[in-house]
Amino acid sequence: MSYWFAWVVSNVLPFITATVFFGGLAYRVVRWRRIPRASVSLVVLPGSRSVGQTLREIVTEVVTFRRVFKGSKVLWVVSWLFHLSIFVFVLGHLRLFIDFTWLWKLLRLTAEQVDLFGFAGGGASGTVFMLGLMALLVRRLRMPVRSLSVPGDYFLLLLLLGIAISGNYMRFLMHIELEPYRAFFSNLFHLRLGVPVENMIFVLHFLLVQVFLIYFPFSKLVHVIGGVLTLKWTLR
């Protein structure tokens, strides 16, 4: 039973996930780029900005969360660290797919040092991510944000919390050798059916991540790409 479950999550679901994720995002962007048929004037914040200035403003916004800082210092600390942790662990997960031997050579790091580095970076970002999610959940449960919250908002936070907890469990409470995972993902990328990794926590983690990716194009997560696009409209 559990083998077949792991097999489906590992060999079937990923193809559905990829299709829905990329297809869904493409569908979103195509819709957003339509021009409204009704004559709504969309000049929002006029000012004589050059293309360079607009670009600089967008990059500054994406990197520093300047507008959040302006609005609330506490939320800024939480959300900036939260998003930074995402950036760090997404980068860290790349080690599941490839080993950056050239980089380690360049940095003169031994295999043990790389693992320690990974443990520190992954552990720190995973912890910050989990605490950040909890903080955001508490904030959402309090007024006035509570009044704006819909079931989808809570679902997303809980889903991410599940991903964070299962990830941190593997990081802190299990000893993970990377090789079987690399082999698994290598199979997957080469469209070869393979034997699932024997780690039910991983299977659960992988399942939740895929649910997240499938839900992504239909959720408020589209702010990741939409936010940048719409800043461009607002600042023209």
Partner: protein, 434 residues
């Protein structure tokens, strides 16, 4: 009766599809309900009513849109939070849309720059189609549409008033030849006031005339079009919005003027400078300027001589949303004021981040909303108090009416004047004018 209501709702539902497209749809999609907009909105901060949180407005529109135009919303409305457009929802939308002043302050605080004013603009358009424009605003819009100006002032009344303005001008500049030109074809500048100024704030027109006189501007007013305002825009009625903009364009063409000089008024500037092009489908063949912008130009060209010592009180400037944040005129009014007064102080947060007065977006014309309007103005009142100003200068009738109401309601000891008035008072007129 029920059938009629049903038809009206169906029309709204159909036009939802047309209006929620492109950027509007994207904004509804990406709003992550983070609530950062809450504390940026004077309506929410002033009233504490969560239905005034900008994100709540977007969400309400999203819920209705989902119900009719997405598969999931049709199949499982509860699951995705889709809502039917019934009387209750229409009422809520009306309150949310018309008690928002479209000031765009929340846009500055939204991490994604979601433009709530555009979203509320869409809601207003839907409500206008459903015949749900609040009383007061609807009447003003109809009067303007039918009689050519919001107060229904006749041409004779207008001429009477202008005659009096001209006498005031002649006394002020001590020149019996000084005039307020009417319908002068080929004049470079067409100056358009508002009906409120003609009836209640006449000094704005007299001061503008005085400034034009001082710099020797080649200007005129029109006996046909003496209403710069666009109440179609406030009510959300697309057709009336277009017609009102078109009237000014036609009059510019008839008189052959090159510059449309709009009086101290926020939304008319935004309407003509940024909106008209979209509504009329082509770029305007003339320049659109606000009077404070022209004053700043005259000052920078050295054409205005001002003596700031006549204005000794502590003066602050309230940025009308449509001129500052939404219009890009931040420096111009300040340049004019700094040249005309001795003690100029800024409010904090200032310039494009300033608080809205709470009276814009047509709210001042809706008697039922008075209580909310006064509550919405409280962040502005605090801001004025902190500045220590004795005089609040501004350049918009809506703001002025609201600030006067706020001063009375909150026992705020300030006077409210137009930028043009302070500049006109400080004017030094050459003795040997030729």
């Amino acid at each position: 009766m029920a059938n009629e209501a049903h038809t009206a709702t169906r029309q709204v539902v159909e036009s939802l599809r047309e209006k929620v497209q492109g950027p509007i749809e994207a904004w509804l999609d990406i709003c992550a309900h983070c609530g950062l907009c809450a504390d940026s909105c004077h309506a929410y901060v002033g009233t504490g009513d969560v239905e005034h949180i900008p994100s709540a407005r977007a969400q309400q529109l999203e819920k209705v849109y989902k119900r009719y135009h997405t598969k999931l919303g049709q199949l499982a409305p509860r699951l995705v939070g889709a809502e039917e457009l019934d009387e209750e929802v229409l009422d809520r939308l009306q309150k949310m849309a018309y008690q928002c002043t479209l000031c765009r302050r929340c846009t500055l605080y939204c991490p994604f720059g979601i433009d709530n004013a555009s979203i509320v603009g869409v809601i207003r358009a839907l409500l206008a189609e459903a015949g749900r424009v609040p009383a007061g605003l609807q009447e003003h819009t109809d009067t303007a549409y039918e009689k050519g100006n919001t107060l229904g002032i006749s041409e004779d009344e207008f001429l009477d008033r202008v005659e009096w303005f001209e006498e005031e001008l002649q006394d002020a500049v001590e020149d019996e030849e000084a005039e307020i030109p009417l319908d002068r074809e080929g004049a470079k500048v067409l100056f358009v006031p508002t009906p409120i100024q003609i009836m209640r704030f006449p000094t704005v027109i007299i001061s503008a005339a005085k400034i034009f006189y001082a710099v020797g501007e080649d200007w005129t007013m029109s006996t046909k079009r003496f209403d710069a305002t666009n109440f179609g825009l406030f009510s959300g009625d697309a057709e009336k919005t277009r017609v009102m903009a078109e009237r000014l364009v036609d009059e510019m063409e008839r008189l052959g003027a090159q510059v449309l000089a709009l009086t101290e008024c926020g939304h008319s500037y935004w309407a003509m400078k940024y909106g008209a092009e979209t509504w009329l489908g082509n770029a305007l063949p003339f320049e659109v300027k606000n009077i404070v912008e022209m004053i700043a130009e005259y000052a920078s060209q050295g054409r205005l001589k001002l003596d700031p010592s006549v204005n000794r009180d502590v003066v602050t400037y309230h940025d009308p949303c449509n001129l500052g944040r939404k219009g890009g005129l931040i420096e111009e009014p300040r340049a004019a004021l700094k040249a005309a007064v001795e003690n100029f102080v800024e409010m904090t947060p200032g310039a494009e981040q300033t608080w809205c007065c709470g009276g814009g977006g047509g709210m001042i014309a809706i008697p039922d909303y008075e209580e909310v309007r006064l509550a919405s103005g409280s962040p502005k009142v605090e801001q004025i108090r902190r500045s220590g100003a004795e005089v609040v200068a501004t350049a918009c009738d809506n703001c002025k009416l609201q600030l006067l109401d706020l001063a009375e309601h909150y026992d705020l000891d300030v006077s409210v004047v137009g930028v043009v008035d302070l500049v006109a008072d400080a004017l030094i007129l050459d003795e040997d004018r030729d």
